[in-house]
Symmetry: C2
Subunit: 208 residues, 2 copies
Protein backbone atom coordinates (compact mmCIF):
# COMPACT_ATOMS: atom_id res chain seq x y z
CA UNK A 1 0.00 0.00 0.00
CA UNK A 2 1.59 3.24 -1.16
CA UNK A 3 0.08 6.27 0.53
CA UNK A 4 1.21 9.81 -0.20
CA UNK A 5 2.67 11.73 2.72
CA UNK A 6 -0.09 14.40 2.97
CA UNK A 7 -2.68 11.62 3.27
CA UNK A 8 -0.92 10.09 6.26
CA UNK A 9 -0.82 13.49 7.89
CA UNK A 10 -4.55 13.93 7.36
CA UNK A 11 -5.23 10.42 8.66
CA UNK A 12 -3.44 11.33 11.88
CA UNK A 13 -5.53 14.50 12.10
CA UNK A 14 -8.79 12.57 11.53
CA UNK A 15 -7.69 10.14 14.20
CA UNK A 16 -7.03 12.87 16.75
CA UNK A 17 -10.31 14.63 15.98
CA UNK A 18 -12.27 11.38 16.26
CA UNK A 19 -10.66 10.73 19.64
CA UNK A 20 -11.83 14.17 20.80
CA UNK A 21 -15.34 13.61 19.46
CA UNK A 22 -15.53 10.14 21.00
CA UNK A 23 -14.38 11.55 24.33
CA UNK A 24 -17.19 14.10 24.10
CA UNK A 25 -19.79 11.39 23.53
CA UNK A 26 -20.48 12.10 19.85
CA UNK A 27 -21.99 9.25 17.82
CA UNK A 28 -21.88 10.48 14.21
CA UNK A 29 -19.96 13.08 12.27
CA UNK A 30 -20.26 14.33 8.69
CA UNK A 31 -17.48 14.92 6.17
CA UNK A 32 -18.55 18.61 6.14
CA UNK A 33 -17.98 18.94 9.87
CA UNK A 34 -14.63 17.13 9.78
CA UNK A 35 -13.62 19.37 6.90
CA UNK A 36 -14.63 22.56 8.67
CA UNK A 37 -12.72 21.75 11.86
CA UNK A 38 -9.58 20.69 10.01
CA UNK A 39 -9.79 23.31 7.21
CA UNK A 40 -10.21 20.68 4.49
CA UNK A 41 -12.76 20.31 1.72
CA UNK A 42 -15.54 17.85 2.54
CA UNK A 43 -14.83 16.15 -0.80
CA UNK A 44 -11.21 15.62 0.26
CA UNK A 45 -12.35 14.06 3.54
CA UNK A 46 -14.74 11.71 1.72
CA UNK A 47 -12.05 10.77 -0.79
CA UNK A 48 -9.50 10.00 1.93
CA UNK A 49 -11.89 7.93 3.99
CA UNK A 50 -13.34 6.00 1.07
CA UNK A 51 -9.78 5.19 -0.02
CA UNK A 52 -9.42 3.26 3.22
CA UNK A 53 -12.72 1.50 2.69
CA UNK A 54 -14.87 3.46 5.13
CA UNK A 55 -17.95 4.96 3.50
CA UNK A 56 -20.30 7.33 5.33
CA UNK A 57 -24.06 7.21 4.81
CA UNK A 58 -25.40 10.12 2.79
CA UNK A 59 -27.32 12.49 5.05
CA UNK A 60 -26.21 10.57 8.15
CA UNK A 61 -22.43 10.71 8.17
CA UNK A 62 -19.84 8.45 9.70
CA UNK A 63 -20.08 6.49 12.92
CA UNK A 64 -17.49 8.12 15.17
CA UNK A 65 -16.80 4.82 16.94
CA UNK A 66 -16.29 2.66 13.87
CA UNK A 67 -14.36 5.31 11.92
CA UNK A 68 -12.06 5.80 14.90
CA UNK A 69 -11.48 2.06 15.24
CA UNK A 70 -10.86 1.79 11.51
CA UNK A 71 -8.22 4.55 11.38
CA UNK A 72 -6.74 3.31 14.64
CA UNK A 73 -6.11 -0.04 12.98
CA UNK A 74 -4.38 1.63 10.03
CA UNK A 75 -2.17 3.80 12.24
CA UNK A 76 -1.50 1.44 15.12
CA UNK A 77 1.95 0.01 15.61
CA UNK A 78 1.81 -3.78 15.07
CA UNK A 79 3.71 -4.35 18.33
CA UNK A 80 4.72 -2.14 21.21
CA UNK A 81 7.87 -0.68 19.75
CA UNK A 82 10.65 0.34 22.08
CA UNK A 83 11.88 3.88 21.66
CA UNK A 84 15.30 5.25 22.58
CA UNK A 85 16.06 8.94 23.01
CA UNK A 86 19.55 10.28 22.38
CA UNK A 87 20.19 13.70 23.92
CA UNK A 88 18.41 14.70 27.14
CA UNK A 89 18.88 18.47 26.86
CA UNK A 90 15.99 20.96 26.83
CA UNK A 91 14.51 19.51 23.65
CA UNK A 92 14.99 15.94 24.85
CA UNK A 93 13.23 16.76 28.10
CA UNK A 94 10.46 18.51 26.20
CA UNK A 95 10.01 15.35 24.11
CA UNK A 96 9.90 13.15 27.23
CA UNK A 97 7.29 15.41 28.79
CA UNK A 98 5.25 15.77 25.61
CA UNK A 99 1.74 14.73 26.49
CA UNK A 100 1.00 12.99 23.22
CA UNK A 101 4.00 10.71 23.80
CA UNK A 102 2.73 9.49 27.14
CA UNK A 103 0.29 7.07 25.53
CA UNK A 104 0.66 3.34 25.70
CA UNK A 105 2.00 3.09 22.17
CA UNK A 106 4.95 5.39 22.74
CA UNK A 107 7.21 3.50 25.11
CA UNK A 108 10.60 4.98 25.93
CA UNK A 109 12.98 2.28 27.15
CA UNK A 110 16.34 4.06 27.27
CA UNK A 111 17.88 7.52 27.26
CA UNK A 112 21.40 8.35 26.12
CA UNK A 113 23.58 11.35 26.91
CA UNK A 114 27.23 12.36 27.15
CA UNK A 115 26.74 14.44 30.33
CA UNK A 116 28.27 12.59 33.33
CA UNK A 117 25.69 14.24 35.62
CA UNK A 118 22.88 12.54 33.70
CA UNK A 119 24.45 9.15 32.97
CA UNK A 120 23.31 6.54 35.48
CA UNK A 121 20.34 8.60 36.67
CA UNK A 122 16.64 8.08 36.04
CA UNK A 123 14.80 10.88 34.21
CA UNK A 124 11.00 10.74 34.18
CA UNK A 125 11.28 7.09 35.13
CA UNK A 126 13.66 6.09 32.34
CA UNK A 127 17.30 5.14 32.80
CA UNK A 128 19.94 7.32 31.15
CA UNK A 129 22.92 5.46 29.66
CA UNK A 130 26.23 6.76 28.38
CA UNK A 131 26.13 7.56 24.67
CA UNK A 132 29.27 5.41 24.46
CA UNK A 133 27.15 2.33 25.18
CA UNK A 134 24.38 3.10 22.69
CA UNK A 135 25.14 0.18 20.33
CA UNK A 136 24.98 -2.44 23.10
CA UNK A 137 21.97 -0.98 24.92
CA UNK A 138 19.90 -0.64 21.76
CA UNK A 139 20.70 -4.22 20.82
CA UNK A 140 19.97 -5.61 24.31
CA UNK A 141 16.68 -3.75 24.64
CA UNK A 142 15.74 -4.44 21.03
CA UNK A 143 14.98 -0.76 20.45
CA UNK A 144 13.43 -0.12 17.04
CA UNK A 145 12.91 3.66 17.04
CA UNK A 146 15.52 6.26 17.95
CA UNK A 147 14.70 9.91 18.55
CA UNK A 148 17.70 12.13 18.08
CA UNK A 149 17.78 15.43 19.99
CA UNK A 150 21.52 15.97 20.29
CA UNK A 151 23.31 19.00 18.76
CA UNK A 152 23.95 18.83 15.00
CA UNK A 153 27.67 18.20 15.48
CA UNK A 154 27.07 15.05 17.56
CA UNK A 155 24.18 13.56 15.60
CA UNK A 156 26.00 11.69 12.80
CA UNK A 157 28.19 9.78 15.28
CA UNK A 158 25.29 8.88 17.60
CA UNK A 159 23.21 7.64 14.68
CA UNK A 160 26.08 5.63 13.23
CA UNK A 161 26.68 3.92 16.60
CA UNK A 162 22.95 3.30 17.09
CA UNK A 163 22.54 1.77 13.62
CA UNK A 164 25.35 -0.67 14.38
CA UNK A 165 23.01 -2.43 16.83
CA UNK A 166 21.06 -3.71 13.82
CA UNK A 167 17.63 -3.40 15.49
CA UNK A 168 16.55 0.10 14.37
CA UNK A 169 13.60 0.39 12.00
CA UNK A 170 13.24 4.15 12.09
CA UNK A 171 14.79 7.40 13.26
CA UNK A 172 13.04 10.64 14.19
CA UNK A 173 15.72 13.29 13.87
CA UNK A 174 15.52 16.77 15.40
CA UNK A 175 19.16 17.72 14.83
CA UNK A 176 19.53 20.28 12.00
CA UNK A 177 21.87 18.09 9.95
CA UNK A 178 21.57 15.63 7.05
CA UNK A 179 21.97 12.03 8.19
CA UNK A 180 22.86 8.96 6.15
CA UNK A 181 20.92 5.80 6.97
CA UNK A 182 20.68 2.45 5.18
CA UNK A 183 17.80 1.87 2.76
CA UNK A 184 15.83 -0.32 5.18
CA UNK A 185 15.80 2.23 8.01
CA UNK A 186 13.22 5.01 7.75
CA UNK A 187 14.30 8.53 8.56
CA UNK A 188 11.89 11.36 9.38
CA UNK A 189 13.50 14.71 10.10
CA UNK A 190 11.89 17.61 11.91
CA UNK A 191 13.95 20.70 11.25
CA UNK A 192 12.59 23.63 13.21
CA UNK A 193 14.70 26.28 11.50
CA UNK A 194 13.50 25.06 8.08
CA UNK A 195 9.91 25.55 9.26
CA UNK A 196 10.70 29.09 10.36
CA UNK A 197 12.50 29.83 7.07
CA UNK A 198 9.44 28.51 5.23
CA UNK A 199 7.18 30.81 7.20
CA UNK A 200 9.42 33.80 6.40
CA UNK A 201 9.48 32.81 2.75
CA UNK A 202 5.70 32.52 2.48
CA UNK A 203 5.12 35.83 4.22
CA UNK A 204 7.61 37.54 1.95
CA UNK A 205 6.19 36.08 -1.27
CA UNK A 206 2.50 35.74 -0.48
CA UNK A 207 1.56 38.88 -2.39
CA UNK A 208 3.73 38.10 -5.46
CA UNK B 1 5.51 33.74 -7.46
CA UNK B 2 3.91 30.47 -6.38
CA UNK B 3 6.41 27.92 -5.19
CA UNK B 4 5.42 24.46 -4.05
CA UNK B 5 6.20 23.61 -0.44
CA UNK B 6 8.79 20.87 -1.16
CA UNK B 7 10.74 23.33 -3.31
CA UNK B 8 11.02 25.83 -0.45
CA UNK B 9 12.24 23.05 1.78
CA UNK B 10 14.92 22.09 -0.74
CA UNK B 11 15.91 25.75 -1.17
CA UNK B 12 16.52 25.97 2.56
CA UNK B 13 18.61 22.79 2.38
CA UNK B 14 20.66 24.13 -0.56
CA UNK B 15 21.18 27.33 1.38
CA UNK B 16 22.47 25.52 4.44
CA UNK B 17 24.76 23.27 2.40
CA UNK B 18 26.18 26.24 0.49
CA UNK B 19 26.91 27.97 3.79
CA UNK B 20 28.83 24.91 4.94
CA UNK B 21 30.75 24.70 1.64
CA UNK B 22 31.54 28.42 1.69
CA UNK B 23 32.77 28.14 5.27
CA UNK B 24 35.07 25.34 4.14
CA UNK B 25 36.51 27.52 1.37
CA UNK B 26 34.90 25.71 -1.59
CA UNK B 27 34.61 27.72 -4.83
CA UNK B 28 32.43 25.53 -7.10
CA UNK B 29 29.97 22.71 -6.62
CA UNK B 30 28.17 20.45 -9.10
CA UNK B 31 24.51 19.47 -9.12
CA UNK B 32 25.70 15.85 -8.75
CA UNK B 33 27.52 16.65 -5.53
CA UNK B 34 24.64 18.69 -4.09
CA UNK B 35 22.31 15.84 -4.99
CA UNK B 36 24.49 13.19 -3.35
CA UNK B 37 24.83 15.07 -0.07
CA UNK B 38 21.12 15.89 0.14
CA UNK B 39 19.85 12.57 -1.30
CA UNK B 40 18.28 14.26 -4.33
CA UNK B 41 18.60 13.55 -8.04
CA UNK B 42 21.06 15.85 -9.80
CA UNK B 43 18.31 16.58 -12.36
CA UNK B 44 16.04 17.78 -9.53
CA UNK B 45 18.77 20.07 -8.23
CA UNK B 46 19.35 21.55 -11.70
CA UNK B 47 15.62 22.01 -12.22
CA UNK B 48 15.15 23.78 -8.88
CA UNK B 49 18.10 26.11 -9.41
CA UNK B 50 17.30 26.94 -13.02
CA UNK B 51 13.75 27.79 -11.92
CA UNK B 52 15.25 30.59 -9.83
CA UNK B 53 17.37 31.80 -12.73
CA UNK B 54 20.71 30.38 -11.66
CA UNK B 55 22.31 28.15 -14.31
CA UNK B 56 25.49 26.18 -13.67
CA UNK B 57 28.13 25.74 -16.36
CA UNK B 58 28.24 22.23 -17.83
CA UNK B 59 31.36 20.45 -16.61
CA UNK B 60 32.18 23.29 -14.20
CA UNK B 61 29.22 23.53 -11.86
CA UNK B 62 27.88 26.40 -9.80
CA UNK B 63 29.85 29.15 -8.11
CA UNK B 64 29.33 28.53 -4.39
CA UNK B 65 29.54 32.23 -3.61
CA UNK B 66 27.06 33.48 -6.20
CA UNK B 67 24.62 30.60 -5.71
CA UNK B 68 24.64 31.21 -1.97
CA UNK B 69 24.04 34.95 -2.43
CA UNK B 70 21.27 34.21 -4.92
CA UNK B 71 19.36 31.81 -2.64
CA UNK B 72 20.05 34.07 0.34
CA UNK B 73 18.22 36.84 -1.48
CA UNK B 74 15.22 34.59 -2.15
CA UNK B 75 15.02 33.39 1.46
CA UNK B 76 16.02 36.53 3.33
CA UNK B 77 13.44 38.40 5.34
CA UNK B 78 12.90 41.86 3.78
CA UNK B 79 13.30 43.50 7.17
CA UNK B 80 14.50 42.31 10.55
CA UNK B 81 11.28 40.82 11.82
CA UNK B 82 10.60 40.77 15.52
CA UNK B 83 9.70 37.41 16.97
CA UNK B 84 7.69 36.71 20.10
CA UNK B 85 7.69 33.39 21.92
CA UNK B 86 4.69 32.28 23.95
CA UNK B 87 5.45 29.53 26.47
CA UNK B 88 8.90 29.30 28.05
CA UNK B 89 8.71 25.68 29.23
CA UNK B 90 11.19 23.01 28.18
CA UNK B 91 10.30 23.32 24.50
CA UNK B 92 10.32 27.13 24.64
CA UNK B 93 13.75 27.09 26.24
CA UNK B 94 14.96 24.59 23.65
CA UNK B 95 13.74 26.97 20.92
CA UNK B 96 15.52 29.93 22.53
CA UNK B 97 18.75 27.96 22.77
CA UNK B 98 18.46 26.51 19.28
CA UNK B 99 21.68 27.40 17.53
CA UNK B 100 20.13 28.05 14.14
CA UNK B 101 17.88 30.70 15.73
CA UNK B 102 20.80 32.69 17.09
CA UNK B 103 21.52 34.27 13.74
CA UNK B 104 20.94 37.92 13.01
CA UNK B 105 17.73 37.31 11.11
CA UNK B 106 15.96 35.58 13.98
CA UNK B 107 15.45 38.28 16.59
CA UNK B 108 13.40 37.44 19.67
CA UNK B 109 12.01 40.59 21.25
CA UNK B 110 9.60 39.27 23.87
CA UNK B 111 8.70 36.12 25.78
CA UNK B 112 5.32 35.36 27.31
CA UNK B 113 4.36 32.96 30.07
CA UNK B 114 1.73 32.42 32.74
CA UNK B 115 4.24 31.31 35.39
CA UNK B 116 4.68 34.06 38.01
CA UNK B 117 8.26 32.87 38.63
CA UNK B 118 9.14 33.66 35.02
CA UNK B 119 7.14 36.86 34.46
CA UNK B 120 9.33 39.94 34.88
CA UNK B 121 12.59 38.00 34.57
CA UNK B 122 15.06 37.95 31.70
CA UNK B 123 15.66 34.57 30.04
CA UNK B 124 18.64 34.31 27.69
CA UNK B 125 18.65 38.10 27.52
CA UNK B 126 14.98 38.50 26.60
CA UNK B 127 12.28 39.90 28.88
CA UNK B 128 9.41 37.62 29.85
CA UNK B 129 5.99 39.28 30.03
CA UNK B 130 2.72 38.01 31.45
CA UNK B 131 0.63 36.20 28.85
CA UNK B 132 -2.19 38.52 30.00
CA UNK B 133 -0.36 41.45 28.37
CA UNK B 134 0.38 39.73 25.07
CA UNK B 135 -1.92 41.92 22.94
CA UNK B 136 -0.36 45.19 24.14
CA UNK B 137 3.26 44.00 24.12
CA UNK B 138 3.01 42.57 20.61
CA UNK B 139 1.47 45.81 19.36
CA UNK B 140 4.04 48.04 21.10
CA UNK B 141 7.00 46.02 19.88
CA UNK B 142 5.50 45.55 16.45
CA UNK B 143 6.08 41.80 16.61
CA UNK B 144 5.30 40.06 13.32
CA UNK B 145 6.07 36.41 14.09
CA UNK B 146 4.81 34.45 17.09
CA UNK B 147 6.17 31.06 18.08
CA UNK B 148 3.71 29.11 20.19
CA UNK B 149 5.12 26.51 22.57
CA UNK B 150 2.40 26.47 25.22
CA UNK B 151 0.36 23.33 26.02
CA UNK B 152 -2.44 22.49 23.57
CA UNK B 153 -5.15 23.61 25.99
CA UNK B 154 -3.72 27.14 26.29
CA UNK B 155 -2.78 27.71 22.67
CA UNK B 156 -6.10 28.90 21.15
CA UNK B 157 -6.50 31.66 23.78
CA UNK B 158 -2.89 32.87 23.49
CA UNK B 159 -3.13 33.01 19.70
CA UNK B 160 -6.46 34.83 19.80
CA UNK B 161 -5.05 37.46 22.17
CA UNK B 162 -1.88 37.81 20.10
CA UNK B 163 -3.82 38.24 16.84
CA UNK B 164 -5.79 41.07 18.41
CA UNK B 165 -2.61 43.21 18.30
CA UNK B 166 -3.02 43.38 14.53
CA UNK B 167 0.71 43.19 13.79
CA UNK B 168 1.22 39.44 13.29
CA UNK B 169 2.13 38.18 9.84
CA UNK B 170 2.83 34.59 10.76
CA UNK B 171 2.63 31.98 13.50
CA UNK B 172 4.88 28.97 14.03
CA UNK B 173 2.84 26.62 16.18
CA UNK B 174 4.25 23.71 18.18
CA UNK B 175 1.11 23.01 20.23
CA UNK B 176 -0.65 19.81 19.07
CA UNK B 177 -3.96 21.55 18.35
CA UNK B 178 -5.72 23.04 15.32
CA UNK B 179 -5.70 26.85 15.38
CA UNK B 180 -7.90 29.29 13.53
CA UNK B 181 -6.19 32.34 12.06
CA UNK B 182 -7.39 35.02 9.63
CA UNK B 183 -6.63 34.60 5.93
CA UNK B 184 -3.82 37.18 5.93
CA UNK B 185 -1.85 35.52 8.74
CA UNK B 186 0.29 32.54 7.77
CA UNK B 187 0.27 29.53 10.03
CA UNK B 188 2.93 26.82 9.98
CA UNK B 189 2.42 23.98 12.44
CA UNK B 190 5.07 21.56 13.63
CA UNK B 191 3.35 18.62 15.25
CA UNK B 192 5.91 16.26 16.71
CA UNK B 193 3.47 13.47 17.47
CA UNK B 194 2.22 13.52 13.86
CA UNK B 195 5.82 13.04 12.70
CA UNK B 196 6.21 10.06 15.00
CA UNK B 197 2.88 8.59 13.86
CA UNK B 198 4.03 9.02 10.26
CA UNK B 199 7.27 7.19 11.01
CA UNK B 200 5.31 4.31 12.61
CA UNK B 201 2.95 4.21 9.67
CA UNK B 202 5.73 4.06 7.08
CA UNK B 203 7.59 1.34 8.96
CA UNK B 204 4.43 -0.70 9.28
CA UNK B 205 3.44 -0.37 5.63
CA UNK B 206 6.77 -0.18 3.85
CA UNK B 207 6.69 -3.84 2.78
CA UNK B 208 3.06 -3.74 1.55
Amino acid sequence: MRIAEPTVERLVQYHRLLEQLRGGGRKVVSSQEIGEILSLKASQVRKDLSYFGEIGKRGVGYSVESLHRHIDGILAAPERWSIGLAGVGKLGEALLGYQAFRKEKFHFSALFDTDKKKIGTTIRGIHCYSADDITEVIREKNISILMVSVPASGAPRVVEDALRAGTLKGILNFAPVSLTVPEEVLLVSVDISIELEKLFFYIKHKDD
